[in-house]
């Protein structure tokens, strides 16, 4: 990949304007690419949790979050090269929910790639999802970047196949984030050996971006902000110069750097989750680097939810969070510090009161 060029700076500058004037319609913001062959953007929508009530009724609140993200993504100028959907399209994995979600997403312009979430999976183990969206794990290349999509929300076979009398109960047990009957997520041996073969063919200088639903790092096991075999997956990614992992599931802004791997989470369109440290009874390992998002105001239905577009510049990812009822945020890779940083709030002194969680 080339060194940073003007197009990237222009893009960031404009993204900064977007952050300040978050009420601006996105269509008015011209994102300038002088020479677009190396740098590009894609949009990322995640965790919509479309929830069926009964008959033709769905939970309005979650529907609105996804509809808004789709509408705003379509306003991005220039158009993102593709759109990622980060998993948990459905709440309880039913055909009704997946179909309804797929219909809302069908309004997106351009190519969409999908990641599997646990709420999509544990009713029929992804069978219907595959019919709608394709394979559960795969890779593709785009403008010199190697992209990998993993199904990171699998778990022990005993739990999946032997523990529950019905598929519906299995789904319900995994759907409860804090349910002690749940089970830790994992990529599993089959996918890890597939990943090894897939990466064997990729030059070590090629930037690699991995999409997973759960964090491929260990943050808090009690809520499955966790992937059991994260260390083994990280080991497979270690030989590459530039690696980024982008994950959903956590419904909040998180970022981290472990060796050569940058980690970034994406926002949910449905609802925000507390940071694990707000649960007083358990230890957790939220990355120190992460500057939390503002504490959500429940009286604004869409507060602390949103979507994001991602600028791939010089092989690293910059996350531009579009927050519906709040100031937008940008988490950008700092080439000197070799880690992702919030462009405004990273310094302790720059932080604001609502970022304190307790």
């Amino acid at each position: 990949m080339n060194t940073i060029n003007n197009s990237r700076r222009n893009f960031i500058k404009t993204a900064g304007t977007l952050a300040i004037g978050s009420t601006l319609p996105i269509s008015l913001v011209e994102l300038a690419f002088a020479e677009s062959s190396q740098n590009f953007t894609f949009a990322y929508i995640s965790d919509s949790h479309i929830q069926h009530i009964k008959d033709n009724r769905f939970v309005r609140n979650w529907d609105r979050g996804l509809i808004r993200a789709v509408a705003e993504t379509n306003l991005l100028v220039p158009k993102p090269d593709f759109v990622m959907f980060g998993g948990d399209l459905a709440q309880l994995g039913s055909k009704a929910e997946l179909d309804h979600g797929a219909q809302i997403l069908s309004a997106l312009h351009g190519n969409v790639h999908y990641v599997m979430g646990e709420h999509d999976y544990y009713l029929d183990l992804g069978e219907y999802w595959e019919k709608l969206f394709g394979p559960q794990y795969y890779s593709f290349d785009h403008k010199g970047v190697h992209f990998v999509v993993l199904n990171s929300i699998k778990t022990y076979d005993d739990w999946t196949f032997k523990r529950w009398p019905t598929a519906e109960q299995r789904m319900l047990e995994m759907a409860g984030l804090d349910n002690p009957n749940g089970s830790p997520f994992m990529v599993g041996e089959e996918q890890r050996s597939w990943l090894k073969n897939d990466l064997d063919k990729v030059d070590k200088d090629t930037p690699v971006v991995v999409f997973s639903h759960s964090p491929l790092q260990k943050i808090y096991k009690g809520w499955n902000f966790w992937t059991e075999d994260a260390d083994q997956v990280q080991a497979l990614l270690k030989p590459f110069k530039k690696v980024s992992v982008i994950y959903g599931h956590v419904h909040q802004i998180q970022y981290n750097q472990i060796g050569n791997i940058s980690f970034n989470s994406v926002m949910a369109t449905a609802w925000p989750w507390p940071y694990p440290q707000s649960y007083a009874q358990a230890e957790q390992y939220l990355p120190k680097l992460t500057v939390p998002m503002n504490r959500a105001d429940p009286f604004f239905e869409r507060d602390a939810t949103g979507w994001q577009f991602i600028n791939i510049a010089n092989g690293n990812v910059d996350l531009n969070f579009t927050l519906y009822n709040n100031t937008s945020r940008v988490v950008r890779f700092n080439g000197k510090q070799k880690r992702p940083e919030d462009v405004v709030y990273q310094d302790e002194k720059a932080r604001i009161v609502p970022q304190t969680h307790y």
Partner: protein, 134 residues
């Protein structure tokens, strides 16, 4: 002393002598029973917290508040800026029942409301009281 007061005092003395119903004595068995009573209400609260049936749209409290996190019962009563007044935590619970859960509010002394408060407070045990905090 009236005749009634004298009578009452005599009764008290009689109890004291026989050793029944001392006000300030209780046993390990008592504590165990009280704790069991409390924990059974906490368990009911957890049941309600995770139940899709508390409201009308299938949404459960735990969907946004796993382990009742970010409910901050130790900060109530507090000025709830969105309601424009100081409220106890049960008024905020009712706000959630009406809005995200699209359900009906509960009376302040409804056993379900007691159970919900018992559960969220139990999940915050050990955190110092900080009424009014934001």
């Amino acid at each position: 002393m009236s005749i009634y007061q004298k009578l009452a005092m005599a009764l008290c003395l009689a109890f004291a002598v026989t050793g029944s119903a001392l006000a300030d004595e209780f046993t390990d068995a008592d504590i165990q029973r009280w704790q069991q009573q409390f924990m059974s209400v906490v368990a009911e609260g957890r049941e309600l917290w995770t139940s899709p049936k508390l409201g009308t749209n299938g949404v459960a409290c735990a969907q946004c508040h796993p382990n009742a996190a970010n409910t901050h019962p130790e900060t109530y009563p507090k000025f709830q800026k969105q309601l424009g007044k100081v409220v106890p935590v049960w008024e905020m619970i009712n706000w959630c029942l009406r809005n995200p859960l699209e359900g009906q509010p509960l009376a302040a002394d409804d056993p379900k409301m007691t159970a919900l408060q018992a559960y969220i407070t139990y999940e915050r045990r050990g955190v110092k009281l900080d009424p009014g905090k934001h």
